[in-house]
């Protein structure tokens, strides 16, 4: 039984893997000293890690339904936590989050609170109960709890809209990183990214995705934390940045007023010369710069969205028991916390590196021509992520004359702070791991819902396992391909579409899922009304606001889930109450779900 042994040996297997990866980093550092080019180091990092993931994917191939859909339900608590963290932290978290904090400060940090607070809802309201249910997919729960194909179909619809919005952003991110690291055009890099994603999931489904996600988490967390600690120590800011950057935060506030932040404004004509997508610092680093409602409404949407996104929920279907599902949520959040609590520290270190004239890396207040002669400035200017211009013609770089892309905070800071290039290669590999792991989870969530809930449960309930799994793989390929084709069009920035995905999921799924467990009286017509009206009203509000509509209650295109989910709740309660109560069998089923012991509601393999 190699499989049994593999599960028992997990700490050892991943311990060796982590050690091997560290050795690889050291080898690359030695190669850099020996004169290996930066480009080659980048290629090695991305190619080597992607190859390892593909290898794990191949080792985890399977032809069994419960291994393909729920990894055989034997993933231990801590490892499922790591896999969920990788599943969760997308290219946006890795590449864009520190940049968002850098530019928007407090107002942006509502996302940090929302993307972590949501896990309390997952742990307390949903995950243990859905695990007890024993479903393969989220629509599987909706379809069985409420009964009827219409409920199942509606759930698949919401899942597809939310996850597909999300996945295009992730494939876009893999394409961006692959194109930079491997030096190929974006249009081709997107498909290279797609191929890597499919290699991880196609042969082994959830089982393969689980074990590659654990491997990807290890790479991404090393790639994020190492530079933060290194820069902090190099700068003399403190050996453990998270607890020791208070002076640096205060120093930034001091510099901001010294450099006239907020008092010097750029003219519209000057701003027009700045390349698209780049921004200057316009908000104070640590000041409260938004209204309570704006902050709270964004946090609430992200929290409810977290609890309704199927690719996260389905990770808790893979644990051995209800108890481990609950604990696993705690571990997931712990592993997410490691990265999220580091993002503000990276933003602080990055900003201070650039601003402080007492540091050798500081550029504000230096002469424009000196800055333009810097190696790293030229590199990132060429990559369209940095720009300076002497608007007032005094020959000195002012705070309002320096512009940067959000991604540059993560990607360029190691270079700015003078770390060896090997760290930049490592960061590229980390970003790739983050985007790939999320894309894998999402593509699998969509294709599993289509193959299990539409094909097997509705179209062809007599299909044999082998046929079901072939259909699942064909769908996986098609969805990935569709996602890549749309990603290649580059419609919406990485972060915009990520936030929309949360709002879509919240609009359609939050209350139907929660009330399915917590309100026995909820029935099929109510759930269908809740899902469809929630999704429709949320989408309508988004379209209205996007096309210049005024909106109401201060709900923006980033928080339209508030409108959607309220409509969903109200319509679900009203329709449930005016139609017949669920039958006795359904009520018994809900009772069973509420008790951890005993058999799952759905059979082990179904």
């Amino acid at each position: 039984m190699i499989k049994g042994k593999f599960i028992d040996n997990l700490p050892k297997v991943y311990g060796i893997y982590t050690g091997g990866f560290l050795v690889f980093i050291i080898l690359m550092a030695i190669a850099e000293q020996a004169g290996m080019s930066a480009k080659l180091i980048g290629i090695f990092f991305v190619a080597f890690t992607v190859f390892i993931y593909a290898f794990i994917g191949w080792l985890s191939r399977t032809m069994q339904a419960d291994a393909y859909y729920v990894a055989g339900r034997q993933v231990p608590t801590v490892f499922n936590g790591m896999a969920t963290a990788a599943d969760w932290m997308s290219g946006a978290s890795f590449v864009a989050m520190a940049g968002g904090i850098y530019f928007k400060g407090y107002g942006y940090m509502a996302l940090l609170v929302g993307w972590t607070g949501g896990y309390v809802l997952v742990a307390s309201l949903l995950a243990p109960y859905l695990r007890k249910f024993g479903c393969y997919t989220v629509p599987d729960f909706i379809g069985t709890r409420y009964g009827g194909n219409l409920a199942r179909l509606s759930a698949v619809l919401v899942l597809t809209v939310a996850s597909f919005t999300y996945v295009t952003a992730q494939i876009n991110a893999t394409g961006t990183i692959a194109s930079v690291a491997l030096d190929i055009p974006f249009g081709i890099a997107v498909y290279v990214g797609l191929a890597s994603i499919l290699m991880c999931s196609m042969l082994g489904g959830m089982r393969a995705v689980t074990w590659t996600q654990v491997a990807q988490y290890i790479v991404l967390i090393i790639a994020y934390l190492l530079p933060v600690f290194w820069i902090s120590n190099k700068m003399g800011a403190g050996f453990f940045p998270h607890f020791m950057l208070a002076d640096e935060v205060a120093r930034i506030a001091e510099l901001e007023s010294q450099f006239g932040l907020g008092s010097v404004k750029n003219s519209a004509a000057d701003l027009a010369s700045v390349p698209k997508g780049l921004a200057g610092i316009t908000k104070a680093h640590s000041e409260v710069n938004t209204t309570p409602w704006k902050f709270i409404s964004l946090a609430v949407c992200m929290m409810a969205g977290t609890a309704s996104l199927p690719h996260v929920m389905m990770r808790y279907f893979t644990t051995p028991s209800v108890k481990t599902a609950r604990r696993s949520v705690g571990w997931s959040l712990f592993f997410i916390f490691l990265l999220y609590s580091s993002a503000p520290m990276l933003a602080t270190l990055s900003k201070l590196s650039l601003m402080d004239p007492n540091l050798s890396t500081g550029i504000i207040g230096k002469s424009i021509s000196d800055v333009q002669a810097l190696d790293w400035y030229q590199n990132w200017n060429q990559a369209n992520l940095m720009f300076v211009s002497d608007f007032n013609g005094n020959g000195t770089l002012e705070l309002n004359e320096f512009f940067m892309g959000g991604k540059a905070v993560v990607l360029a800071t190691p270079e700015i702070a003078g770390l060896p290039y090997v760290i930049s290669g490592l960061v590229a590999a980390g970003g790739m791991a983050a985007a790939m792991s999320t894309a894998d989870g999402l593509v699998l969530a969509i294709s599993n819902a289509l193959s299990h809930d539409i094909y097997y449960k509705i179209i062809n309930p007599k299909a044999e396992t082998a046929k079901r799994l072939i259909v699942a793989r064909v769908l996986l390929f098609l969805i990935g391909f569709a996602g890549a084709s749309i990603a290649a069009l580059e419609i919406q920035g990485i972060l915009g579409s990520v936030i929309w995905a949360f709002d879509f999921a919240m609009s359609g799924l939050f209350f139907p899922l929660v009330l399915g467990v917590w309100w026995k009286r909820a029935n099929a017509p109510g759930a269908v009304a809740g899902m469809l009206l929630g999704l429709i009203s949320g989408t309508a509000y988004l379209i209205w606001v996007r096309n210049g509509g005024a909106g109401f209650w201060g709900v923006t295109q980033l928080t339209f889930g508030i409108v959607g989910s309220l409509v969903s709740l109200v319509s679900m309660v009203i329709v449930s109450l005016i139609t017949k109560a669920p039958d006795a069998a359904t009520q018994r089923m809900v009772d069973e779900v509420r008790v951890p012991s005993g058999k799952t509601v759905l059979a082990k393999s179904h």
Partner: protein
């Protein structure tokens, strides 16, 4: 009241306590962003508003989930609903 109903009542009360704590640190305190910023209580030297969004609330959520899981396990045990191996 049946054993199952009692178990569910305890579970529900536990949920309400958990959600109340969650509400305070995810929503409640952010009504007072400006007050937190002006506060003299500065954990590790950071402004309180900055600290809560960077680490404070996030760390509390981690601890809250583990506390929630532990207490829920005790409730399940009390009523004999703990899962056996191989369930």
């Amino acid at each position: 009241m049946s054993k199952q109903a009692q178990h569910w009542e305890k579970t529900r009360n536990h949920l309400f306590v958990t959600l109340a704590i969650w509400f305070v640190f995810s929503i409640g305190i952010f009504f007072f962003g400006a007050e937190m910023e002006a506060s003299n209580f500065r954990p590790l030297g950071y402004p309180l508003s900055y600290y809560m969004t960077c680490q404070g609330s996030l760390g509390i959520f981690v601890i809250l989930i583990f506390w929630f899981a532990n207490r829920q396990e005790k409730i399940d045990e009390e009523f004999g609903y703990t899962e056996r191996e191989g369930d």
